[in-house]
């Protein structure tokens, strides 16, 4: 596996155009706004995770990125041109979420065909190796297991040696081991100087495998940065303790506290200032089994997407999450 940067990437990026640029993009299905005013720029060579729950607008965003769906308003540009132009020039490869295996072809036949449609394809054997399909070349695509078929879809995306690799929930059907292999291949491909955009609702995946995480909720970007930055942005720590029958009423009014959750007899407080919160709890005598922990990415994600974070003052979302927490 070569670690060299793409020889052609310098020429392609000479104009300085970002690999992906969404500006003011909106897309509705009937009355539902799937994507709502999306502005997003991805530089060539970046590996970006699009993180969000089901229905957050990730797939719609990727469909528009690939030119499969025209934006309602706004513009989508790939390498400074239209998505269609980038696709026709063979600069894009994609793994779609809803693709099913094509019947009556072997893995190698399929990958050879796809590679042949690109101007500068990857060697077929190399593609199969990279996708973990080395021994399945002669097998019929429709006779593979779900996980193997998923690897075929990855190989289809890689076959043309595209500068921009788009993966829509690439690990959905994979077991733990297959996932590890998949991410290793993906990172090897990204290291060659390629741009990779993948969507996921697994936080760990986004944190571990992307340089940058774009968190989407209700069709908008609610956070954008490295995993560490997003954790910071969501604010601080989790303070938990045993309620031992105490009332939860005053907890949400304590200094620093942004959310209160009760699990069994244990109260969990999300706080921006754990010191002040702990002092206040001590004043109330609520210190049994007290623990202070930094908020994980999971908590950060929930905070960001439920509207609790200070930078997303969406009143309806805040009310909803307050109800959920209560």
């Amino acid at each position: 596996m070569t670690q060299t940067k793409r020889p052609d990437s310098a020429a392609h990026t000479a104009g300085g155009a970002p690999a992906v640029a969404f500006s003011g993009v909106t897309r509705s299905y009937g009355a539902v706004r799937a994507v709502d005013g999306l502005d997003l720029e991805i530089a060539a060579g970046e590996t970006v995770a699009l993180l969000g729950r089901n229905g957050a607008g990730k797939s719609t965003t990727l469909s528009m990125l690939l030119g499969l769906l025209p934006p309602g308003t706004g513009s989508v540009r790939l390498f400074g041109g239209t998505p269609q132009a980038a696709v026709r020039a063979g600069r894009v490869g994609a793994m779609l979420q809803d693709g099913k295996p094509v019947p009556r072809v072997t893995v190698r036949e399929l990958i050879t065909f796809v590679a042949g449609t690109y101007p500068r394809p990857m060697d077929v054997t190399e593609t199969l190796e990279l996708a973990g399909l080395g021994e399945f070349g002669g097998r019929r695509v429709d006779r593979l297991s779900g996980g193997q078929a998923q690897r075929v879809r990855f190989a289809v995306a890689l076959a043309g040696n595209p500068e921009l690799l788009v993966l829509d929930e690439p690990t959905a059907a994979l077991d733990v081991e297959a996932r590890r292999v998949f991410w290793r291949s993906m990172r090897a491909y990204a290291r060659r100087g390629n741009t990779v955009v993948f969507s996921t609702h697994y936080l760990e995946e986004a944190d571990e495998h992307a340089d940058r995480i774009v968190v989407m909720d209700a069709g908008r970007v609610v956070a954008d940065g490295t995993g560490a930055a997003i954790k910071r942005r969501a604010g601080g720590s989790l303070v938990s303790f045993d309620l031992a029958g105490a009332s939860t009423g005053p907890l949400s009014g304590l200094p620093g506290v942004s959310a209160v959750e009760v699990r069994g007899d244990r109260a969990l407080l999300r706080t921006a200032d754990s010191d002040a919160t702990v002092v206040a709890l001590a004043g109330l005598g609520l210190v049994r089994g007290l623990q202070v922990a930094p908020a994980g990415l999971e908590d950060a994600f929930l905070a960001l997407t439920s509207g609790n974070a200070p930078h997303t003052p969406a009143p309806d979302a805040a009310t909803r999450s307050a109800k959920e927490l209560a």
Partner: protein, 242 residues
């Protein structure tokens, strides 16, 4: 695009359903209709020849329309969507699919003609065989377009049913199974306006030593234009969602 045609031809010929029903059925029906119930002396050479043309036409028609069924399946599988994000252009994909039909009709057509010549002893000069095969081959174009139109327009399930319905209707009313001369008068006159009938007429005229009449060519051209328009309309509609 050649690679695409090669891939799709391969996929079609590996389809057991296609081989059995698309190639085997017309041959079997031809043998049945010319050898069973024909009396001790067997069927006359005239019927053996006419039925050979009819069944070759039926086989070719089935293979041509069946291409559309494949398109509907590909649409459902997401394969057409995947093709849209390769450098292959949408026009190349549609034209490639159409040309795939031009290849897959050949075995359906050739097998009936071979059985006619080798088993049923149909004899014609070489130019007549060549002209017959060539005209029947070209004449499949309207049916390919009809099948493609259905394939782009309808879901995979309905396409299968609608295409099979079209095949049977066009074949039977067109007189490919039983000669249109046996039909009641009204059906005979209706039949002469259908593409299936005129398609077989292309071949029958050659076996009778002549060239296809102007009316036959005109009726087929009209159907070609109609089905072509339908295919373009269906594709444009589908392109929004595929």
């Amino acid at each position: 695009m050649l690679d695409y045609i090669r891939l799709e031809v391969r996929r079609t010929l590996r389809d057991r359903g296609f081989v059995i029903f698309g190639i085997g059925m017309p041959v079997l029906m031809y043998l049945l209709m010319t050898n069973i119930g024909a009396g001790p002396g067997g069927a006359g050479m005239e019927w053996k020849t006419a039925s050979m043309v009819g069944m070759a036409a039926y086989g070719a028609l089935g293979a041509a329309i069946g291409t559309g069924t494949g398109v509907a399946e590909d649409k459902q599988l997401g394969w057409l969507r995947q093709l849209r994000i390769t450098p292959l252009g949408p026009v190349q994909v549609v034209v490639g699919r159409g040309l795939t039909a031009a290849v897959t009709v050949v075995p359906a057509l050739a097998s009936v003609l071979l059985v006619g010549g080798l088993v049923n002893g149909v004899r014609m000069p070489a130019w007549q065989w060549a002209a017959l095969a060539g005209l029947l081959w070209i004449g499949t174009a309207p049916f390919t377009l009809l099948g493609l139109g259905n394939g782009y327009r309808l879901s995979a399930q309905s396409t299968g049913v609608v295409n099979t319905g079209c095949l049977l209707l066009l074949s039977i009313v067109g007189g490919l199974w039983f000669p249109a001369e046996l039909f009641p008068g009204w059906l005979r006159s209706l039949s002469s306006w259908t593409p299936g009938n005129r398609f077989a007429e292309l071949g029958q005229s050659v076996t009778q030593g002549g060239a296809p009449g102007l009316a036959t060519v005109a009726v087929l051209a009209a159907w070609l234009a109609l089905f072509g328009g339908y295919a373009v309309y269906a594709y444009r509609r589908a392109a929004r969602t595929v």
